[in-house]
Symmetry: C2
């Protein structure tokens, strides 16, 4: 609406300098509060910038500074209910410090992961919060080189990258011990993919709890799932079939290594008209929003998802500020949330 110059058109620092009657050097110094600038010059520059609706061109600046003030969040799928909270945490922490976040969904495909990493390198991203699936650490470094810092979330790689995770062994232990303390001894586990550290570790916690209670580990009670609802349902079907339709003495509780699979298991149980928790108790993992609305409401092991995101971003910024820092690792504590899908078990069974 202004004359010709004002509104939409893009202004450069040259135009600001000209209007203010100074050189670009002075204009730059005034706008960035660096070096020596007289009061009058500064205020003339600021006024000119205001009048021209000047917005610095970040890309141009990054050409000299080498910093883009951009980080990336690379994860399998925002649509997986575990990730939005993490993403929000990352974005909050990043934007607080003036960083923007680029979102990348890889579906866990090493191919897509590699493609994104290449793209991110071309963008000279300052850092990456990465939840990879299968890409080996060495491959990551070979692509991004040391052009950007990396923090791994919820994954554990051999490479010397910083890490934010929760104690999955402990989480698995908590879930299983809870079931044991309720009197269960025949406890099945629907694990995550055993190629992922999360999958392995939660299973390890399960074994630890069993061992500590003196309950023998029974291979046939372990079914490998895929962290997805349909996989959880299929795994539960398999378990039910294995028991000849009625769990009864063969199996009285299930630890599903994430909530999505637990929900799948729940539907399978419902279809077979097996009562939860009276016939079979079930514990999930993650405490996604779903968990508190199922019937029965799902007992689960909560992870501090938002905090993980925040910590990951903050850790990344620290690493960016000082690439020579020793490797950082932050292990958060999972927490058992007891709802209705697990219940005290009286008398029956041994």
């Amino acid at each position: 609406m202004q004359l010709g110059n004002g509104d939409g058109n893009i202004t450069t620092i040259y135009e600001v300098a000209e209007l203010a009657g100074v050189s670009v050097a002075t204009a730059s110094r005034a706008l960035n509060n660096t070096g020596y600038v007289s009061k009058e010059a500064r205020s003339r520059v600021l006024e000119a910038a205001r009048r021209l609706n000047y917005h610095i061109n970040v890309n141009a600046r990054s050409l000299t500074s080498g910093k883009t003030y951009t980080i990336a969040l690379v994860l399998p799928d925002v649509t997986n209910p575990f990730f939005p909270a993490v993403a929000r945490g990352v974005e909050d922490a990043a934007s607080r410090k003036g960083y923007s976040v680029i979102l990348c969904n890889t579906d866990g495909s090493p191919r897509k992961e590699a493609d994104y990493l290449n793209m991110l390198r071309s963008r000279r991203i300052d850092g990456i919060v990465f939840t990879t699936s299968e890409l080996p650490g060495a491959r990551i470094s070979s692509i991004i080189g040391d052009s950007s810092a990396v923090v791994l979330v919820d994954r554990d790689l051999d490479e010397p990258y910083d890490i934010v995770k929760t104690d999955n062994v402990k989480g698995g232990f908590l879930a299983t011990s809870h079931l044991i303390s309720l009197g269960h001894t025949r406890i099945a586990v629907i694990s995550g993919p055993l190629s992922l550290t999360t999958g392995m570790e939660r299973l390890q916690g399960y074994r630890d709890a069993l061992g500590q209670a003196g309950i023998p580990f029974d291979e046939s009670l372990v079914v490998e799932g895929d962290f997805r609802q349909e996989g959880g349902r299929a795994a539960m079907e398999r378990l039910i079939e294995q028991c000849g339709g009625r769990p009864s003495a063969k199996l009285s509780a299930v630890f599903a290594c994430n909530d999505l699979m637990a929900v799948g298991a729940l539907t399978a149980l419902e279809e077979h008209e097996i009562a939860v928790p009276s016939e079979v108790a079930i514990v999930g993992y993650d405490d996604i929003a779903l968990a508190s609305v199922t019937r029965p409401r799902l007992s689960t092991v909560a992870q501090p998802k938002y905090e993980m995101g925040v910590l990951a971003a903050e850790m990344l910024l620290r690493r960016m500020a000082n690439p020579n820092l020793p490797r950082q690792q932050e292990v958060l504590q999972p927490m058992l949330v007891i709802r209705d899908s697990t219940l005290e078990r009286r008398s029956r069974c041994g």
Copy 2:
């Protein structure tokens, strides 16, 4: 691991040109497949780029091209279960065309929205997929000017921006008609914030359905909610209280204008031991993942969330390619999903 040059360090086109024994102009042409380049020169350049692990600096390029190949997705909160699917759609469609997506959570705060828009302008973003809450269209244009294209999702502004939405009036109509067809006549509505077009339009659909069925509109059956779970619960409490604890003849069904509020209402009903759907039927809106795991499973009006994201991104790219296009508007159709929270109503009531 290589000599000194290979791995992590950043290479410029100058080094590539030098290694290939050509000028930067030729190198640039070879890498971009523009202009004339001899076969030999091209292959020497490509080989040099490969050996040096050359990745173009996108920021430098955008300095001359004026394009950043970056768009932004500005929404209230990824943590709201409605948005991840939209986000995924936007990211998929964008990355398919080589664009990156910057994620911005505004919490619906006009202040944050304005801050983000300013930041995005500084980044010379090519376009924005925007789900604003309260920022007037004029304000948006005053900030971003015509420096980037804008597509509005699920919102309707006076400004001449492109729009992707679903037919909310129709959605409200579908939900209400469904209840009416089951025999309900006393239907309460827990609306969204009436300051939002989504809120208003769904309510309008409700009124239309009532009108068409000849059921008088009763002000006292309308409670304004906030699209959040706790708000839905509070609204339901209010309705129950209004009926003196037992809905009975005063109210036999509720249309909650999104699923989150429906879930909240469900918990309120459960606490009061009011059976769903036999005493009170309930329909939600959005069909988020939650809806299919509640007990009873929630009948709801589904929006094609992922498709909305895809369409928004594609529309944005079209607009970016041709700023003079007439205003585009895409209205998708909502779809009724009948589950267990609504049920045929026999005899009783009139």
